[in-house]
Symmetry: C2
Subunit: 777 residues, 2 copies
């Protein structure tokens, strides 16, 4: 029997399957995977793809809604804040006279459909186990990209067969163990965190229609509604719930007022209006950031999925928060922010959504004092950012963790993984180069660059050999701790100091007033700048001109070499196979380290040094981090090895999308998703920034006939199309004034509002050596 | 300030530190370890050693009280029942005007003391973080070994400094997600499971005294009490709560009545009376089962800890349940029962607590129909026990699990790990040999042995080579699946069929009426018995007379040999290091397999075959199971290698007691604890059963000056003392008539009520070869 309710259209996903991710069936052990994979987020609220209706007791799966920035420590003893989940606002029970309606093994159907175009998760189920009824259930959930406080749930229940008394009960899950209750009223509940003085309010409204006619609730409690009636064949039941969530950074008696206002605004739009505005916001995001690949449906799907999560991870209106290692999709890493944001995510935002990039960098500006305090506490000057950062910017890396063998391990990253400071500076500089956002640069960015440069100049100590050394650090390769002169760290430090000097010159020249104020406030004088210059010149970077190799750190080349091919069958990372102690004595690398340098600063690798370093380090890498493969892909593409790059691209995409593992229960690997986009745009299209425009060095793999995407550059918007079959590159400058486009070293002018079509046939793409992509303006 | 309240004596642990396990301080990551290690249990109720007072929000640690036999499936889709935790009945909050009193990092002290002699967990804390008060808090908790439905909690709060309004609130933790609430009254709550039709009731009473004067509760709810008063220095606050828990195997409206009766009985005794009876019951258990070691304090502590948990794991009054792989101390393995019970635990119960052994074997008798159904469903005759068994005896091994690499793995044990049937028969026979419990044998044991023998006779199929083969099984070494002719399985099968034939002869001879009834009921005739005889004679057991080696299974010796020494640094089991597929192609063994055979049936290893097999298989064993080391220790001691045995003994003891790992959060490894006792009594003392008495073959390690223990044998009780220094063995027959004691093959008579002292100096201890310890009566 096909019936059609008032919500029929809203409950129908986009037609084009290329925009959909779909999963049917139900498998308990994979459920946490699906909850992550089908998570939706708007950068303020994140909702995992848990089941839409309550199944009776089910202690394996906890539904999760995250509120960005709602941190608290889990116990009074802990110094490590964690993102506290909010009440589950999707809770619905369908009650029969004998108890809750239950899913039925083998007989109940279930489907999840993530509509990436519309930013909506749909579910569908037939539940007919213990029911005297046959019902067909469709649900929709969204967190609005238009009004980020707002979440909405629609449920349509079609009674296909049977007659029975029925109750639909909508309530909120418990949070009292996590949050202390403050207010409970029929339309509002408010909580505060136990220790961090944050508060949370949720206002909600719900209604139910049977065959288009609204029914009054039979029972009503605090954020609880229930409706009872006699169900009969052909009935269509339409349920809607709209919520508004607010977070406050103090225990605020008025917290409920704002949630109520947000709710009132959403209710004024009605559920159709909420959907319309949300979809319009998503359409705008897709217009700016979609990447299209022809010839490789899997790559297309991977890119869509990556871009969907990247757009959902950030809230450009909230500089209080940044993007966590698992975004707002899971418990792993407790909502903490790592270098992942600056190195793996910022390029996407900078080039497709500068407002979002700016907000993320303002989070680092807001936490600059905490970075200064960390450096000072460790005896250095300037700013050393927290390796793991939560709401205040204080270092919140746990001191210990439980290893895969359930042994307690000390975590040294919080004190030793210092490259984070250069990574933040790198993202600031890249944003500045790509946007020319003077207000940001003068008010925030320059200060970050100067303070991180100052940190490195004080950190690299002059020793008897006449060189400056950075001892006792951890590089990106975390298998090796307390190492000296990690190439990635030292080269990035050198680069950071150079950008500090460049920033100083630039400010002095173009904005002398700002320079005077800032240098006075920072106590930065000529003597110190001279010392920076000297530090940048004398810092040991471990490059051997004879072999063209960077040594990853002092003594690396003398370590035991392990043939990783012999461990191909392993099911766990190499440090677990060999044990932590032994791994430290080998050349096994956790993740791209010198290769990361090649991905970020290709210009510092002279001649064939890029190839040489890649060929040396790639076989030594165990890829024990989800960050590793994308950077290998990016570097390989840049080196003119698109098929190798494609292999890494697929492996990076598989982390969250392949079904062979269930490792993603703790949330999507947002950095790997950022890396998927990076490999496509910075790798295969070979994009790099120039002072007067953008350069491209296309290296499409065989399977990719065509690659098309949009980027922003200095208040312009370009559509870039690379056609492998036609051997052409086409740039349409859709917004903004004329700019330069480089293919290799050939310079072309892209005129405003017009298309620039270039043939790639006779152009020898020069591999990127010695060409600073970020040269001074 | 030292004050002394009415509970002072009760709250003071036993003086002798050899009876105490103590932990001070608080370390979040180790908390789950302590919760397991300090668990207490009486075989019906199990309570983990969670914190006694609520800390505010704390989402890492869930307190757990288990009720034996309270199984339910976690979701409607699941076919795997799990032990459902009951409400946390220890919940207490101490509320100050500003909120709950909280522990303070670095400033609050905390100590846990497990008094194994008294069967009580004590905690001690000074909490002075956010309080205007200095308080000293002592708590006691027990689950009564005298009345197993009863739990009791005492708290004494001494106000050392400060004046403040104070509230002590005692309540019950939520269970509503796990269990459906049925009744809630001030003194009683009742729940039912969502799907399995079990019910649970808890009745409780609580009271509070300030300076010895009882106060009426200021507020009262369902199983909730709170008292408010103004605390001032010198006050001693005494809180007591007694609970009574009942489980019903149906949804029973009267379930509360029994809980109320049990509670009333406990209240009539008063808290002192409850403690007295509980301690008397423990004293009786220790009198029967304590093992004393002189010269090795660590071994003494390990044995005490093992015996404490073994005595707490079983309820001789309840044949509805058996001992789970983690007893009642943790979530791992969901409360399921494995071969662990019969092979690792039963010897302890059989020899120190025959009533408990009998009950555990009656659980197998109760589930014999389910074992018959499993065999029939797979196309065989007789009884094939469930590899994992819960309340009904149906096979409940999960079909899949998530591996250490978070890959979903198929679990084949539920269909292939069939040796369980022979293991059950082994335990029945051992019990029968040790107790001569005719009633049990005739009414239950014989039928188990006959039906399992019948299974093997139908399972081992005659093939063209004239031998019977058992194909497609998993032995104890679970790294190798779908193997043919696993030596452990086939030899145990052969032994089981032989015991079946022996049982048939015995019944026919001694209890012809019973034989007639039983053989008729089972349809067991001469033709079938002849077929059994032929099956036992022709079954392939893989023994090569040339090398004296059993081949673990057909083709094992041709597999790749791995040098395990090269993987000494590994932090995870070998199947994780090599990957599951590769491990299957190597000789790496998960756990004692042929060595298990050597431990269980030493008499089938002719001449030096024991040594040869041990020396061949030991270096191939990765010890990927907690069961492995104890059996290696037992076998090594029997082979006259006490120092090797001691190494394994210590490693087995370290599983739950060493602090290097935190692997025990999921519960104590009760089989390894059983193995610790086994290694001492069956290994170092060399105990074995003879038709007319007990044999000993002492092999004490250097460090053990003296070993003393008690055992039951056929309605007698013996105290056995082995003195290494004096080279003597002393047996005191404390109860029962004269019996034989063997040293090697020398036979002595232990007279009733007297001591038999034997010198070991001139007795050559014959290693146990070819001497059936279980010869026919």
């Amino acid at each position: 029997m096909i019936v059609s309710g008032i919500m029929a259209q809203a409950l129908t996903p986009t037609e084009d399957p290329a925009w959909l991710l779909r999963e049917t069936g139900y498998e308990l052990l994979r459920e946490s995977t699906f909850e992550t994979r089908f998570a939706i987020s708007n950068g303020f609220l994140g909702v995992r793809g848990g089941l839409a209706t309550h199944l009776g007791a089910c202690r394996t799966i906890l539904p999760r809604t995250y509120v960005a920035g709602l941190f608290d420590t889990p116990t009074p003893d802990s110094t490590v804040p964690e993102l506290v989940p909010a009440a589950d606002w999707l809770q619905v029970r369908i009650l029969l006279p004998d108890g809750p309606m239950m899913r039925c093994p083998n007989r109940s159907s279930r489907a999840l459909t993530l509509d990436m175009h519309r930013g909506i998760l749909f579910t569908e189920a037939r539940q007919s186990c213990n029911a005297p009824l046959d019902v067909y259930l469709r649900t929709l959930r969204l967190v609005s990209l238009d009004a980020r406080a707002v979440g909405m749930q629609l449920i349509e229940l079609q009674i296909e067969n049977g007659v029975s008394d029925l109750t639909l009960e909508a309530s909120f899950g418990p949070t009292d163990f996590e949050l202390a209750p403050e207010r409970a009223e029929p339309d509002l509940r408010a909580w505060r965190t136990w220790r961090s003085s944050r508060s949370l309010a949720i206002a909600a409204a719900a209604s139910l229609h049977v065959d288009g006619v609204e029914r009054a609730p039979t029972a009503r409690g605090d954020l609880m509604w229930s409706w009872s009636w006699t169900a009969s064949p052909g009935q269509v039941v339409s349920f809607q719930r709209i919520i508004a969530v607010t977070r406050h950074h103090s225990v605020d008696v008025h917290s409920g007022a704002r949630a109520r206002r947000e709710l009132a605004a959403a209710r004024a739009l009605g559920w159709r209006g909420v959907i319309d505005r949300h979809e319009a916001a998503w359409a705008e995001r897709w217009r700016s950031s979609d990447v299209q690949v022809e010839g490789d449906a899997a790559a297309q799907a991977a890119l869509r999925y990556a871009i969907f999560h990247l757009n959902g991870a950030v809230n450009p209106a909230d500089p209080q928060v940044s993007v966590a290692a698992r975004a707002l999709t899971g418990d792993d890493y407790r909502g903490h922010v790592f270098w992942d944001t600056e190195i793996f995510l910022l390029p996407f935002y900078t080039l497709t959504w500068p407002e979002a990039a700016r907000t993320l960098l303002l989070y680092r500006y807001r936490t600059l004092d905490a970075a200064r305090a960390k450096a000072a506490a460790m005896g250095w000057r300037g700013a050393l950012y927290a390796w793991e950062s939560a709401d205040t910017g204080a270092e919140v890396t746990p001191a210990q963790t439980v290893g895969p063998d359930r042994k307690i391990l000390d975590i040294l990253c919080g004190s030793q993984e210092q490259h984070i400071s250069a990574d933040v500076a790198y993202a600031v500089w890249q944003y500045w180069q790509a946007t020319s956002d003077e207000a940001f640069f003068c008010q925030a960015g320059a200060e970050i660059i100067l303070e991180t440069a100052r940190f490195w100049a004080s950190r690299a100590e002059l020793e008897a050999d006449g060189a400056r050394h950075i001892r006792g650090v951890i590089g990106p390769d975390e298998y090796h701790e307390s190492v000296d002169d990690n190439a990635y760290t030292n080269v990035m430090a050198q680069w950071n100091i150079e950008r500090g000097l460049e920033t100083a010159s630039l400010l002095r020249e173009r904005w002398p007033g700002i320079w005077n104020d800032l240098s006075e406030r920072l106590g930065l004088d000529e003597v110190e700048l001279k010392q920076w210059r000297e530090a940048a010149e004398t810092i040991a970077i471990g490059f051997d001109p004879e072999t063209s190799l960077f040594e990853q750190f002092t003594g690396f080349s003398a370590l035991e070499k392990i043939d990783l091919a012999a461990y191909a069958g392993r099911s766990v990372p190499m440090d677990v196979v060999l044990g932590r102690e032994r791994t430290q004595r080998t050349q096994v690398i956790k993740q791209a380290d010198v290769v990361a340098l090649l991905a970020l600063l290709p210009e510092i690798f002279p001649d064939a040094a890029g190839e040489k370093n890649f060929d040396y380090y790639e076989p030594r890498c165990g890829h024990g981090s989800s960050l590793s493969r994308a950077l290998h892909g990016l570097a390989a593409a840049r080196l003119g090895r698109p098929e190798t790059a494609l292999r890494y691209f697929r492996q990076a995409a598989a982390i969250d999308l392949a079904d062979t593992h269930v490792a993603i229960g703790g949330g999507v690997h947002i950095a790997a998703l950022g890396g998927v986009w990076l490999t496509a745009v910075f790798g295969f299209a070979g994009l790099s920034l120039r002072p007067d425009g953008l350069a491209f060095a296309p290296q499409l793999p065989e399977a990719w006939c065509k690659l098309e995407f949009r980027v922003h550059w200095q208040a312009r918007q370009l559509r870039v199309t690379i056609d492998r079959t036609a051997q052409s590159l086409r740039v349409v400058l859709e917004k903004g004034s004329a700019m330069a486009i480089y293919i290799g070293e050939e310079r072309y002018l892209a005129p405003a509002g017009e298309a620039l079509a270039l043939s790639l046939v006779h152009i020898r793409i020069q591999k990127i050596h010695g060409t600073p992509p970020f040269s001074p303006l």
